[in-house]
């Protein structure tokens, strides 16, 4: 890591950036990431004045699933936030967020397996093969496994450039996750659409930032100004063309 901010650490409690993350930020994010689990436990057992849900199974399924999706979204937000807010070190938190996404997705599947279908393997197999929304969700979970397994420093070193190519799978996983959420709704798809919108913004950000985007709009140029001029020319000429 040789970004400029990392090169000149500001003194804070006399700790270097690395130690600050290890001793403060990471433990705080870790505990915060366990909050959804704590909330589920409180609801389930009626602790701290929470009311237990009537349909425990549905509640756990939905909570775990949405939390997994939220963590996927958070991992995808790390890049834009660290670039826009000039906080390059945020990258140090991304692995933990990704692993929590995997944790909650696994919990979601476990609840489905143990409590929803009561370990009826025939039904599980039938669901995964015949129910498209379950096929999609299951695929997303399976795709998360190699990402979790290759999240260690050693695997990063060993895979080198292939590591980042492999971890681009997260984009596909995010799409599958939102689609899975969308497809299980009976009719009210407002909430899944919010996730889809967020995904669109996150993908759009990456597209706008990539030099290739301008190349697509204005071949031969990677400069935004040239692309804008070309677009303006096209728009003007089509507007001035007489109607046929």
């Amino acid at each position: 890591m040789t970004s400029p901010a990392a090169a000149r650490p500001k003194p804070f409690l006399g700790l270097t950036v690395e130690r600050r993350y290890r001793l403060i930020y990471k433990p705080v994010v870790f505990l915060a990431s366990l909050m959804p689990l704590a909330w589920m436990a409180c609801s389930l057992f009626g602790w701290l004045g929470f009311t237990p849900p009537v349909d425990v199974v549905k509640f756990l399924e939905l909570r775990c699933g949405k939390t997994a999706l939220n963590f996927i979204m958070l991992t995808l937000m790390v890049t834009p936030v660290r670039q826009l807010a000039r906080l390059p070190n945020l990258l140090r938190l991304r692995r933990m967020l990704g692993l929590f996404a995997f944790f909650y997705a696994t919990l979601h599947f476990t609840v489905y397996l143990l409590l929803d279908v009561d370990l009826d393997w025939h039904q599980v197999a039938a669901d995964i093969l015949k129910r498209p929304y379950i096929t999609i969700g299951f695929t997303a979970l399976v795709l998360l496994i190699p990402l979790a397994l290759t999240s260690t420093n050693r695997m990063m070193r060993r895979l080198g450039r292939r590591w980042s190519r492999l971890h681009r799978l997260v984009y596909l996983i995010a799409v599958l996750g939102v689609w899975h959420f969308y497809w299980q709704e009976k009719i009210d798809v407002r909430e899944p659409l919010v996730y889809a919108g967020l995904l669109l913004v996150l993908f759009g950000y990456r597209w706008v930032r990539s030099p290739n985007m301008w190349a697509v709009l204005a071949p031969g140029s990677t400069r935004p100004a040239a692309a804008v001029r070309r677009l303006a020319r096209v728009a003007a000429s089509s507007a001035l063309r007489p109607p046929v």
Binding site: V54, D55, V57, K58, V117, I187, D188
Partner: protein, 327 residues
Amino acid sequence: MTVRIPRIAPSEITPPETYFNRRAFLAGALAASAGAALGRAGAAVVPAAAGAPLVYSYDAADSVGALVHAPGQDEKPNSWEQITHYNNYYEFGTSKSDPSEYAGQLQTRPWNIAVGGEAEVTGSFPLEKFLNPYALEERIYRFRCVEAWSMVIPWVGFPLAQLLKQFKPTSRAKYVAFETLYRPSQMPGQRVPILQWPYREGLRIDEAMNPLAFMVVGLYGRVLPNQNGAPLRLIVPWKYGFKSIKAIVRILFTETQPLTTWSQAAPNEYGFYANVNPHVPHPRWSQATERRIGAPLFHERQATLMFNGYAKEVAYLYKGMNLHTYF
């Protein structure tokens, strides 16, 4: 404006065990006194406050009481808490907890019911007058949602067939259609076009005449809470829950099949008939099994029965029909 939801204190609610014991005791007393004092409850007088006790008859020897026992099913009635806090009632929001949270603001008095179409008696009737001819009875029915969960619920009401006879449908009346109240000011869900409001449902007239089709005004011996469809709802126990329309304000006898809300919203997923059928899956999920709300956590799932276990009583209605086509 926030309106306090009239809640019944937990201490006032009879637990299911006591409730059903008390009822067995009443039934015993009834048999002993040869129906002298408690007899048929007579004309239904429905008190205004949701949750207030109702007067109704219960006969333990009644065949309807036995209907609930189906092989392979856990038939323990769900608790008051479960039945009143886990509802699909999109007029108040699409979450299961929205109805119990927001239905308290619905004013169910005064309430008018308009009856029209192919019938000899038509007009608009205040609820009290509308309900007057019927003696109330209790029926414990399985309730199967199209989302593949189910409950067992002790309803209080009267057979739909009796209602139909009051209005004398003509020979042209092939269907009976129902409509829910449209009042966005008190039904916040109606401000969002999730479905085409007002909610509409309907039955073929012979389905409506089946003795199991039931008009409901009460639950657990009390006036129906708003979130369960007060003041008057339909229960068709062999069909998916969405057929059992709530807060009815209009009844129409028609010659042609009426439009129904869910089949309008997604015709490939929800049909007019919507009979509970384990062999016809919803396009996106299976209907072969269901989760019984409140059953032991690791054993909630059980087989779904044809016509929700009421095949003996209703299968004749669909003889010769392809239930994959008419789902």
